[in-house]
Point group: C2
Chain length 238, copies 2
């Protein structure tokens, strides 16, 4: 079974949704047969590489209420994160772009496969939400992703070029093709979509349904499973 | 939507099943979006290229009753064919092998795509059941399949070699992997199997179900279609 997840590194509900999916998977009988592939989505493509303000300041500016108003919004999502067992320092996070982080996520998938990519995703989200690190800064990024297992030379090569930028755009276009207007967006077995950080139970239901629909591969439908008239090695039904 | 059909040229229920599927498709709203790909299956791999007996004689020999007994079996299936609007001369058909006919079916798919292959399939079945022609004879085969649109030079090339034999064997192996022990065997969207020449209504039901399951590509499952908390271009739900 395969789960494709569109997500951004600076997206609080993406991190919360990731935890809820992980909880659902911990109760799912066939979790060992589930492969997760992360895809890129940019919530705030105009955000700078060198930060000029905190997320709280940016929210206060955008929605009114100043830094204090922004802080209040962040407090609420931090409370939800706490319910999922995470102590965030998101009130200190800076508003930054994620293009380079996404390119490194593609490097991770390409070089190490889904497991490595999953470790890099966790490392990036933790760095941003728990440690309030700058996930646009190249030396920070290198430190974060090599800590999760990426090869330092490959990381330098990607950060020093535009490698995997096309893959990031292709991911974003595919999300749009699926009709996703926000993230997190989950697609199970190319078949079932889940929009947003749904409750753990909702993830669990989708996992069960997707599993039951994909095993067996061919469901004999017509005739209540009975065969119609056919010809076989021993001749034709006549 | 895609329908893969395993079938043999000398298989009466394959031709009857083809007509029933076509009738179901004529009532199916999305028939224009259905692509059919034919696959090889050999019911009687030991049958000769140069015929030594009619099918009726072969049946009578195998099941007892002599040519008359075989003829009686054929009469019954010809009566079913008549119900589907076809006047067969199958009582005159010779027992012959179909390897070369199957190789030409692969040529048709490769050179002309599913539409051309469909025309060649119809031509081969009609030649065998309606006109009692020898579908193992090379000059007959060439006449039949070029009449359905295949290039004469390509046909000569295939008939003068073992080209596409591997593809025929791969088809047969794939049928076995699906658990098919006879033909016709239909697989809709790689997902739903239909064994045998089911009634028109059964085909119709499978078409409807397969369509509804594959459109939209992503079925929003969790939260009764409602989104969970998410982040979008206008910010995060908080």
């Amino acid at each position: 079974m395969r789960i494709d997840i569109w997500s951004d590194v600076v997206c609080p509900w993406c991190f919360i949704g990731k935890r809820r999916l992980e909880t659902a998977l911990s109760h799912f009988e066939h979790a060992d047969d589930v492969e997760i592939v992360w895809h890129s989505f940019q919530l705030d493509p105009g955000a700078p590489t060198t930060p000029v303000e905190t997320v709280a300041e940016a929210l206060g500016r955008k929605y009114g209420g100043g830094p204090e108003g922004g802080k209040t919004m962040i407090d609420r999502v931090e409370a939800v994160a706490a319910e999922e067992g995470m102590l965030w320092r998101h009130h200190q996070s800076k508003r930054v772009g994620t293009m380079d982080a996404h390119r490194l996520m593609h490097l991770a998938l390409h070089e190490g496969g889904p497991e490595t990519q999953g470790r890099v995703k966790e490392a990036l989200l933790s760095a941003y939400f728990i440690d309030a690190r700058n996930v646009a800064d190249h030396s920070e990024l290198k430190d974060i992703v090599t800590g999760a297992g990426l090869d330092a030379e490959a990381v330098d090569r990607v950060l020093g070029s535009t490698e995997y930028a096309d893959e990031v755009w292709a991911d974003i276009e595919k999300a749009q093709a699926f009709g996703a207007t926000g993230v997190p967006f989950f697609v199970v077995d190319n078949k079932f979509g889940i929009s947003g950080a749904q409750p753990v139970e909702a993830f669990g239901q989708v996992l069960e349904r997707a599993w039951s629909e994909s095993h067996p591969v061919v469901e004999m439908l017509a005739g209540g499973g009975a065969s119609g008239d056919a010809c076989g090695p021993d001749g034709c039904a006549i």
